[in-house]
Each structure stands twice: as structure tokens, then as C-alpha cells.
């Protein structure tokens, strides 16, 4: 009997698929249930960030950076304002530096909580998502108390902050950290070491360290593959060299180094390290004025700068070119999610359709940042 002819099935996942974390379309080529190829189609959320910047003055770009990675707006602000300050050679007050680090690390926890919660939801665990969002809500309350917005903060300005911390901030933050430590333990019981969760994530989407480096992955995706690379340690910016913390890498105590579970676990551990950094920063927080160094007119000299920070998703770089006017000539962003998404076809090939969801969730992408 002649061989039956079989054909590949092309399946469109998205752009409205709930587990693509935004408007991402995945063109999946299937052989039965086995994935042959995944082609991500991006651009549904393109808002011309870079073109906008050319028409804006430097401070007016800050609200636009908020809207790139809307789950980590503080960190987007952080990278941008530090880059412009470097370009202009502004020396900022000590207190500002500390508040920025506190805000940045709180934002890292909030961003990782979303990543963990939605990762759980993607593969069918609903309850941890609610607990993650409960904790994130408290961080957002802290942010709201400080700068008046819950998601798009516009808090860090070039040369300082829009205003100082409210008096209730530090006590509330301390009580949050105390509760949060317990909640991480609860999360580990409920999700991280849950056997069902392990079945879905361990040994899935294994990303070898050299492939991760070749593709330019950064952040928890790279560290999940066991590479010890964190810009906060390897290229310290701001005042991160003053704090004592560990870089978390995937150790492979469950599954294999570089699989979904290890990438997930890096995030859980990083939240603990962020707590440590915040605690040290509160201890050392000096008094002072936070608005004194804000320049009246932001007009950097002719020149260019590439400045990178470790955002919750990976290496966030701003390449700013100044032609000496009040408008930037070009603001190019190296977005971590954009680079991390490229790895999806590589780690999905040969696994089942359902594993694509796990792989994508473990990459923790934000489409606002990819499309910009």
C-alpha cells in the first residue's frame, strides 16, 4: 500500500489568545501535535516610540518610556533618566539614588509577581495568580501613595524625582516586606514545588547556555540557563555596588538547567534578593532634597550614549543621540523582551503544542516593550 500523504498543519495562536500575554500572533507549524516551527508575528502594539521621541523634549519622553514595559514602568524611567543624566553630566543627590533603587527593586518584585502569576494561569493554576496579584496590589498601593499613579508612574525625572516619599512610605514598605517573605514561602508550597506544576514545566523548553548567549538573551531567561550574568553585579550602575546580594541562576535541582521550571525559579529567588536590597537601602537612606538637581532646561551637549540597566526582563539599553537641541535626535531602545522572544522557536521545536504555552509564559515577555 502506498504511503498515506500527510501534511503539516498551520495553526494561528493569537493575536487574541489569552496566553500570549498581549497581542502576539504565533504561527505554529504542527505535525500532529508535535511542533515543527513557531513563527512569532509582532507589531500589533507598535506606537512609534522612537519617532515620537524625535518630536518631544527630553523630559516629555519619560511618560512614553512608562508605556513600553508597562509592568515595569519604574525601571523604564530609571534607565532613561540615568542615561540622560550621564549624557549631561548631572550629579544627582544621594537620596535620589537610594529612592530610585528602592522603587526599582519594588518594581522588579511587582513585575516578577505578574510573570509568576500569569505563568501559573497559563498552565492551569489559577489560585497562585490571585495571591501574586494580592501582593502586587500592595506594591502598587505604595507606588500610588508616592507618585499618584498605579501603573504609569512618571516619577523619576531627569536630575531627581517629581517629589519626595510620603511619611507613611517607609513603615508601610517594612510591613509589606515582612508579610511578603511569608507569602513567598506560601507561593513555593502552592506552585513552585507542586508536582503537577513540575510535570508541566520541568524538562520543557530546555535552553542551553551557549544558545542563550548566542541569541543575546538576558535577564531571568539567561540566568535560568545557568549563566551568571546580571548587570547589577557585572556592570554596576547607579549605586548597586553598595548592596550585598546574590545573583540567582538556575541550578537544576528539579528538571534540567535551562528549562521552564528553572527560569521560573530564578524569578522567585530574585524576589527574595530584591527584598534584601530594599532592606539595605532603607537602612542607608540619607536625608536630603530630591528635586534640587533637576535642571531648568534639559539640553545635553552634542554626543551620544549607550546606557544599560538590568530591568526585570533583562538588559534594557537606551542609545540616545543628542544634536545639542532640546529634542533628542534619536532614542533607540534595546528591549529585553524583544530579544528574548527570538528564542521561542528554538526551545519549542519538538515539543507538544501545550508546551508552547509553558515556554512562552516562562520567557515573560511584554508586548508593549517588544513593539514599542
Amino acid at each position: 500500500m502506498a504511503e498515506l500523504k500527510t501534511d503539516h498543519l498551520v495553526l494561528n495562536m493569537g493575536p487574541q489568545h489569552p496566553s500570549t500575554h498581549g497581542v502576539l500572533r504565533l504561527e505554529v507549524v504542527l505535525d500532529g501535535e508535535v511542533v515543527i516551527d513557531v513563527i512569532p508575528h509582532i507589531g500589533y502594539l507598535h506606537r512609534c516610540f522612537e519617532k515620537h521621541c524625535e518630536a518631544m523634549t527630553y523630559p516629555m519622553v519619560i511618560p512614553y518610556t512608562d508605556r513600553m514595559d508597562y509592568l515595569a514602568s519604574m525601571y523604564m524611567n530609571f534607565g532613561y533618566v540615568e542615561a540622560v543624566e550621564k549624557l549631561m553630566n548631572i550629579e544627582i543627590p544621594e537620596r535620589v539614588k537610594y529612592i530610585r533603587v528602592i522603587m526599582g527593586e519594588l518594581q522588579r518584585i511587582a513585575s516578577h509577581l505578574v510573570a509568576i502569576g500569569t505563568f501559573g494561569i497559563d498552565i492551569g493554576a489559577f489560585t497562585p495568580f490571585l495571591y501574586c496579584f494580592r501582593d502586587r496590589e500592595r506594591i502598587l498601593d505604595l507606588f500610588e501613595m508616592t507618585c499618584g499613579a498605579r501603573l504609569l508612574y512618571n516619577y523619576m525625572w531627569i536630575g531627581g524625582l517629581s517629589h519626595d516619599l510620603p511619611p507613611m512610605f517607609i513603615p508601610e514598605l517594612k510591613s509589606f516586606l515582612k508579610d511578603f517573605r511569608k507569602n513567598i514561602k506560601e507561593l513555593n508550597d502552592l506552585l513552585s514545588y507542586n508536582k503537577i506544576f513540575i510535570e508541566r514545566t520541568a524538562n520543557i523548553g530546555i535552553l542551553p547556555a551557549d544558545t542563550a548567549i548566542n541569541y543575546g538573551c538576558t535577564g531571568p531567561v539567561l540566568r535560568g540557563s545557568g549563566v551568571n550574568w546580571d548587570l547589577r553585579k557585572n556592570d554596576p550602575y547607579s549605586i548597586y555596588d553598595r548592596f550585598d546580594f546574590e545573583v540567582c541562576v538556575g541550578k537544576g535541582e528539579i528538571g534540567t538547567v535551562g528549562d521552564c521550571w528553572n527560569r521560573y525559579m530564578v524569578r522567585v529567588r530574585e524576589m527574595e534578593q530584591s527584598c534584601l536590597i530594599i532592606e539595605q537601602a532603607i537602612e542607608q537612606l540619607p536625608e536630603g532634597d530630591v528635586t534640587s538637581a533637576i535642571p531648568k532646561r534639559v539640553k545635553p551637549p552634542v554626543g551620544e550614549i549607550y546606557f544599560r540597566v538590568e530591568s526585570p526582563k533583562g538588559e534594557l539599553g537606551y542609545h540616545i543621540i543628542s544634536d545639542g537641541t532640546v529634542n533628542p535626535f534619536r532614542v533607540k531602545v534595546r528591549a529585553p523582551s524583544f530579544v528574548n522572544l527570538q528564542i521561542l522557536p528554538v526551545i519549542s521545536k519538538g515539543y507538544l503544542v501545550a508546551d508552547i504555552i509553558a515556554n512562552l509564559g516562562s520567557l515573560d515577555i511584554v508586548l508593549g516593550e517588544i513593539d514599542r
Partner: protein, 165 residues
């Protein structure tokens, strides 16, 4: 194409999952007796701090707007949401806006207009419930923007003491 073989980490008893489900249920059961975290939104509302950035409004002093139509806010607005048209008046401030419009579909609640205003004439209110049924309704003229100064006391106080003025 063949499925990639997975290395299995779990042995038979762990793969039954029953223990895991019971463990999870016990944990969620504990939460049943913890205080509630949610609010019944339309009935209960959050009390906002003075730092809260809701929709921008114009301050009304003695029945008139404070604004002198200098146009700084419309220049600094990153979303190009503000339109001001100036005219002259007999009052001591000499100029006033005949037309002051904020397009609430464009406004991104950044607060730059408030920060730049030399007269403390535009501030962020605590109003966040913005619903329109038509595009035209989203363009707020002076009739919707003007709010008596008494209602904005704590925000004005906050702007004066906390922000760079």
C-alpha cells in the same frame, strides 16, 4: 517528527497528584478565614492620597478661572491634549482663556501641565471615573474643567509643598 523524550523526575506516587491537590486545597481553605483583601468597587471606594493623579482640572477662584492663558501647559503636554486660546480681560490678570480644552482621549495623566503652570491654575484632581459614549464628549471644555478651589485644597497644598515650584 518525533516528540522529544522527556526525562522524568517524578516517581509513581508523586504522579498520582492527589497529595498535591489536597495540599493546595488546605492552603486555600486557610485563606477562607483570613480578612478580605478586595473591595466591592462601585459601593466602596479607595480613599486617595493627595498625591493621586486623576484627571486634570482648572482651578476656579471666586467664580473665575485662575488661568492666564500663557499656553505653557499646552506646550509641555507630551500627548498634545491641551488647546488654549487667549483673550484680554479687564481684570488685573489681563489675559484669560476664551477656549480651554483638554482632550481626555489623548491625556495620559502625566501631570506635567500641573507642574509647569506658573499660576497653580491647573491641577490633577482625584476624579478617575471617566466614561464617554461619544468622541465629542471626551473633549472637556471649560464647563467641565472648572472646579471650585475649595475642592482642590489638599492637592494645591501638596503641589506647593512637595513639588519643585
Amino acid at each position: 517528527m518525533a516528540v522529544k523524550k522527556r526525562k522524568k523526575d517524578l516517581h509513581f506516587f508523586e504522579r498520582i497528584y492527589l497529595v498535591e491537590i489536597i495540599k493546595g486545597l488546605l492552603l486555600t481553605l486557610k485563606h477562607l478565614f483570613k480578612p478580605k483583601f478586595t473591595l466591592q468597587y462601585p459601593e466602596e471606594k479607595i480613599e486617595q492620597a493627595p498625591s493621586y493623579r486623576g484627571r486634570p482640572v482648572l482651578v476656579m477662584d471666586n467664580g473665575k478661572e485662575r488661568c492666564v492663558a500663557c499656553g505653557l501647559c499646552s506646550r509641555v503636554c507630551p500627548a498634545l491634549a491641551i488647546q488654549v486660546q487667549a483673550s484680554e480681560t479687564e481684570d488685573e490678570k489681563e489675559r484669560y482663556p476664551v477656549l480651554f480644552e483638554i482632550n481626555m482621549l489623548r491625556c495620559i495623566f502625566c501631570g506635567f501641565c500641573e507642574e509647569v503652570c506658573p499660576e497653580e491654575a491647573i491641577v490633577m484632581s482625584k476624579d478617575y471615573e471617566l466614561v464617554f459614549t461619544r468622541y465629542d464628549d471626551a473633549i472637556f471644555g471649560k464647563d467641565k474643567l472648572l472646579v471650585p478651589v475649595e475642592k482642590l485644597k489638599d492637592r494645591l497644598e501638596f503641589v506647593r509643598t512637595q513639588m519643585r515650584k
